[in-house]
């Protein structure tokens, strides 16, 4: 780990002016559960960390309202896991937050930073191994040890996004609120998270110096679940995570969002499967078909074909639980 400076500004505007100064050399620090591992692994080497954890104007509250629920960027995973309103109304988010990492990490980790985590790919995380995502020419995971990698080929990189909560947020229709030196903007979280490209080798379209200030979850009359498969029973990143959010009216599925984690560069919305499900009566057979449709186009690598079976099983189980 190389030395860096640390600043704790008072207001969000002060923070933004520091962050906009020189791109990647300045990084915002909230829970730090991802950033510190990147710094210690010498994957990022910032000159300045701007502590935004106690920033005036950045919320750490969950605020239900008539137009939905506002979740501040500094809300911790522990808050999401234990908040009665989130547990009751947005079950998938409480479950996803609760299945992440360990209690100690969940106490620190914030939902703003959570969706901005970098991949846990073991080639990416080893500073001495060049990889495409770190600016290299090729992705060593494609022909390497790729049991934990993507089954949907969406970019030169085959790393998967580590966030559980992001899949749940997208399934719940979250809007993300951003503030940069140019002002505020809001967009669906699903649009912020996007596979890396040749010119943008990261998993979000966040602009330089921009901060996530929070999310809005629309009101829901549906039920949502998040299921996660790990290599052990706790404290592991998802092999596959599935978030399902389903509204059933008059015996038929009136609204559905199905999001797959651990299978692609970013949480993958299974739109074709949603279309198949919408308007139909819930049944095991329907869920089986939906799972097949959701997995169309998957191109597993040498060591991760098992993720097809795992994803199929979790989709069916999640839909079944969300319509029970």
């Amino acid at each position: 780990m190389r030395p860096f400076a640390y600043e704790r500004p008072e207001t969000i505007d002060q923070a933004l002016s520091m962050l906009s100064a020189d791109g990647d050399a300045t990084r915002p620090l909230a829970g730090g559960t991802d950033l510190l591992t990147l710094i210690k692994g010498e994957i990022v080497e910032p000159d300045l960390l701007v502590d935004i954890k106690r920033l005036d104007g950045l919320s750490d509250r969950i605020e239900p309202g008539p137009d939905g629920t506002r979740i501040g960027a500094l809300v911790t995973l522990t808050q999401l896991e234990t908040d009665p309103h989130i547990m009751q109304t947005y079950g998938a988010l409480a479950q996803a937050a609760g299945k992440a990492a360990t209690p100690q990490l969940r106490n620190m980790a914030t939902i703003g930073g959570n969706v901005l985590q970098r991949p846990r790919c073991w080639y990416y995380r080893e500073s001495e191994i060049p990889c495409w995502l770190k600016g290299g020419d090729t992705c060593p995971a494609r022909d390497g040890q790729n049991a934990y990698h993507a089954i949907f080929d969406e970019s030169p990189c085959v790393a998967v996004h580590p966030s559980d909560s992001a899949a749940a947020l997208i399934a719940l229709g979250a809007t993300v609120h951003l503030r940069g030196s140019d002002g505020d903007r809001s967009l669906p979280l699903a649009e912020l998270m996007s596979p890396p490209t040749e010119d943008r080798r990261r998993e979000t379209t966040l602009r330089p110096g921009e901060l996530i200030t929070g999310y809005t979850l629309p009101p829901t009359y549906g039920k949502s679940v998040y299921l996660k498969a790990m290599d052990r029973k706790a404290w592991a990143f998802a092999l596959v995570g599935v978030a399902a959010h389903v509204t059933v009216a008059n015996g038929a599925i009136s609204d559905v969002r199905l999001v797959l984690g651990g299978v692609a560069n970013v949480p993958r919305r299974a739109t074709a499967a949603e279309n198949l499900l919408r308007g139909k009566s819930p049944s095991d057979d329907l869920f089986r078909q939906a799972a097949e449709v959701a997995l169309e186009g998957a191109t597993p690598l040498k060591h991760n074909a098992y993720k097809i079976d795992l994803t199929r099983a979790l989709i069916q189980r999640a839909l079944s639980q969300a319509t029970a």
């Binding site: 073991w122 191994i129 498969a229 290599d231 592991a236 098992y306 795992l310 099983a313 189980r317």
Partner: protein, 772 residues
């Protein structure tokens, strides 16, 4: 009685020394007061309050921190090394490498700083600086030019004709080790049923909580070395030799240990580099490995490939055991306890026709070293699954099949076991405690299938052996000091030895102190390996305290005007055995002669030569397999081990819970992953190398066998550290077969593997599921 010596000359004119404790085994009907109690650890308070001093906690005036530059290449030669920028960095006191140090021979003819590097993680240079951060900065400033050489990562590839050689002479460490008893090939031809399978076990990392490391401090020519080690005397010997000094110039201290699991039996390079840096700088130097270095260069349980052919006759008699074994040695043979994969094939079950052959194969990866029950854990995976499959083919209950192939003698040496019924008692106790019932068991519902599995084991070393010594010192106030050179590797050795001493003298454990872990203060004790510490040192402690006891009784007899042989000691009071009621406390007797001390010397007597001493055991496991998601849940484990007299049931249980936990990790998710193109370990951390968490650990039951092994040694106790791990993984695999009809040949049983096998099963059975 005092210890005695038998001295003789053997045929070659070499001196033979046999020492005797001077006291016999405790009688089976003895009413124990201290031994058998679940006493708290003597050092427990120190540990839970953070006061216990581990190697890392040593802080000496002027102490420097050291860091090591490690090879980024699996095979390379150093062409040039430029340390000028590192040395110029303020706060840096010394940079050592092969170019500025005398060559010191290390394992396999290599050197501590060797210009040829044979694995990622090999030591290139070391820096001592005012702080670890400065040392790390300095490491980054060292410029090394490497000539990268061809490497071989996987042992499966290392014997191919075109494979790069790890060192001259090829990739076999030695000639194959071949053992034959009878004619296994011929017996396989005649067998009624044969199982022929190829099993593999993965490379596993010890991951002790406390990493390897040393703190070195010179006072003139005298070195004090705090080392995280399982053998202070081995370190003293090896470090003295490496530094060209005498053993009495080297003092090695190990007060507390955060785990070793076999990886800390020998001196590692840190034990020499820290003293070299300390000498060069004139300051104390601490060199601790980080978690990554632990994974790269501090030992591992070697991966194995085992081709197994077992045959049985119609009556369920095992007629042939045949195994061809390949073991990944890594880049070096570092010494210590050997990983004998062949052993359990030759001994666990009665069989007249046995063939084993084993090859150790070099690769450009981290070196193999003993890891809790080395060889046995790997072998059990193959043997116990093969036995399970044979039992099924014969239509026999797996326990019954094992009973039909029971040996009461060590088939290698032809001697009866010291407790011939030890394994049979383990079968009885474990099946009873578990409720082993293959007929009426729960099978599960839907995608969640349940199954039961059984596995057994033997273990060769839990009996302990000489030489080992202890001293006892009775103070004027009646308190007892026990002093020995052994080390407590975290198992509770202090407490167990204290209980033996308290028992022998007839006093409370609170009146005993145990001093250990220091070569300068205690007499020689062997390495703590093979689950042998208590059984090696316990008898010496008993002997030393018995020596004190006899001296004390002579004093008391004079004061009380009775014959010494009429006196007994209980609860710290000396009284006449057959009535009278008169008694004196030990302190009252000692007060008359204060400040005189009574000093006792204890030795470890020889093991009997007419019996073979082994530790046997067996485990029952219940698992649940989710056939849709491949999730395996170990629901419960019951275990029984023939460990002789239990000195402290709490500490024994601690070993059992820990062993089973490591077994669950080995069975389901622990695996070192290496990229063969790069020769790099990809999961050299605890994030991606998955040890079990608290929720992975099943319900566990320890069924006491509870029979002292009075032939083994004068305490009747045998070691328990390693045995509980041996049968866990194959018992889980057997339970998985019972649940879903899939034989998992390759460990670990990860999601990836389980789902792949479930998929193959569905494909081959047209979706009918269970084939069993």
């Amino acid at each position: 009685m005092t210890a005695t010596m038998d001295i003789s000359l053997d045929e070659d004119g070499k001196l033979q020394l046999e020492e005797h404790e001077g006291v016999g085994a405790w009688p089976k009907d003895r009413r124990f007061t201290s031994v058998g109690q679940g006493a708290h650890r003597l050092e427990g308070l120190e540990k839970v309050t953070g006061k216990a001093q581990y190697t890392y906690d040593v802080r000496l005036p002027g102490q420097l921190e050291a860091r090591v530059l490690r090879s980024p290449h699996p095979h390379a030669r150093i062409l040039s090394i430029d340390t000028s920028a590192a040395e110029a960095l303020p706060g840096v006191h010394a940079v050592l490498h092969h170019g500025n140090t005398e060559p010191i021979e290390w394992y396999n003819g290599s050197f501590v700083f060797d210009p040829t590097l044979r694995m990622v993680g090999d030591e290139v240079a070391a820096v001592a600086a005012d702080s670890g951060d400065i040392a790390e900065d300095a490491i980054r400033l060292i410029r090394v030019e490497y000539e990268v050489l061809p490497h071989v990562t996987y042992f499966e590839d290392a014997l191919r004709p075109d494979a790069p050689h790890v060192r001259e002479g090829g990739n076999l460490t030695d000639e194959p080790t071949v053992y034959d008893r009878g004619d296994a090939d011929a017996a396989l031809q005649r067998a009624h049923v044969v199982v022929d399978r190829k099993f593999t076990t993965q490379c596993a990392i010890h991951n002790s909580l406390e990493p390897h490391g040393s703190t070195a401090s010179w006072d003139g020519d005298d070195l004090t070395l705090w080392s995280s080690t399982q053998s202070v005397f081995t370190i003293r010997e090896q470090v003295a030799e490496a530094l060209g000094t005498s053993e009495h110039r080297v003092r090695v201290i190990k007060h507390h240990m955060g785990g070793g699991f076999g990886a800390k039996q020998v001196a590692w390079k840190n034990d020499v580099i820290a003293p070299l840096l300390a000498k060069r700088t004139g300051r104390p130097v601490q060199l601790m490995l980080d978690r990554e270095a632990e994974s790269l260069a501090a030992g591992n349980r070697p991966a194995t490939w085992q081709h197994v052919r077992f045959g049985a006759d119609r009556d369920g008699k095992l007629v042939a055991v045949w195994a061809d074994i390949h073991i990944d040695a890594g880049a070096y043979q570092v010494g210590g306890e050997a990983s004998n994969v062949s052993g359990m094939y030759q001994s666990l079950y009665k069989c007249d026709n046995v063939h084993t052959e084993a090859r150790n194969i070099y690769t450009n990866t981290g070196p193999a070293v003993a890891f809790r029950a080395p060889g046995h854990v790997e072998a059990a995976w193959a043997i116990e699954q093969t036995m399970d499959e044979l039992a099924r083919k014969l239509g026999l209950d797996p326990v019954e099949f094992r009973r039909r192939n029971y040996s009461e003698v060590d088939q290698l040496e032809g001697k009866p076991y010291s407790l011939p019924e030890g394994l049979s008692l383990s079968y009885d106790k474990v099946t009873e405690a578990f409720g082993w019932n293959t007929e009426g068991r729960e099978r599960g519902a839907g995608s969640k299938r349940r199954g039961l599995g059984f596995a057994a084991h033997d273990w060769i070393a839990g009996s302990g052996s000489p030489p080992a010594y202890a001293w006892a010192k009775l103070n004027p106030d009646g308190g007892l000091d026990i002093i020995t050179g052994t080390q407590d590797i975290g198992t509770g050795t202090r407490t167990g030895l204290g209980q033996i001493g308290a028992e022998e003298l007839g006093i409370d454990l609170a009146d005993v102190s145990v001093q250990l872990g220091d070569t300068a203060l205690g007499p020689y004790s062997p390495v703590s390996s093979g689950s042998s510490t208590l059984a090696s040192i316990g008898p010496a402690v008993r002997g030393a305290v018995n020596d004190v006891r006899e001296q004390l009784l002579r004093l008391a007899a004079t004061k009380m005007e009775v014959a010494a042989d009429r006196l007994t000691i209980a609860d710290g009071r000396i009284s006449v055995a057959d009535g009278g009621g008169e008694s004196l406390s030990i302190a009252e007797v000692m007060a008359d002669v204060a400040p005189a001390n009574l000093m006792g010397k204890g030795v470890r007597g020889p093991n009997p030569d007419d019996v073979a001493i082994r530790t046997f055991g067996a485990q029952c496991v219940e698992v649940e397999v989710d056939t849709d998601t491949g999730e395996v849940t170990v629901l419960r484990v019951a275990t029984a081990h023939d460990i002789g007299r239990i000195v402290n049931p709490t500490l024994v249980d601690s070993q059992i819970w820990g062993g089973i936990t490591q077994g669950v990790g080995f069975a389901l998710h622990e695996e070192r992953v290496v990229d063969d193109r790069l020769g790099r370990i990809l999961n050299a951390n605890l994030e991606e190398y998955h040890v079990p968490t608290i929720v992975d650990i099943p319900e566990m039951t320890h069924a006491h066998v509870g029979v002292p092994d009075t032939r083994a040694n004068i305490t009747g106790a045998k070691g328990v550290g390693e045995p509980p791990l041996i049968p866990t993984a194959p018992a889980i695999a057997n339970a998985i077969y019972d649940a879903v009809g899939i034989r998992v040949e390759n460990a670990p049983i990860s999601r990836q593997r389980m789902l792949t096998l479930l998929r193959e099963q569905t494909t081959t059975t047209n979706g009918n599921g269970v084939t069993a």
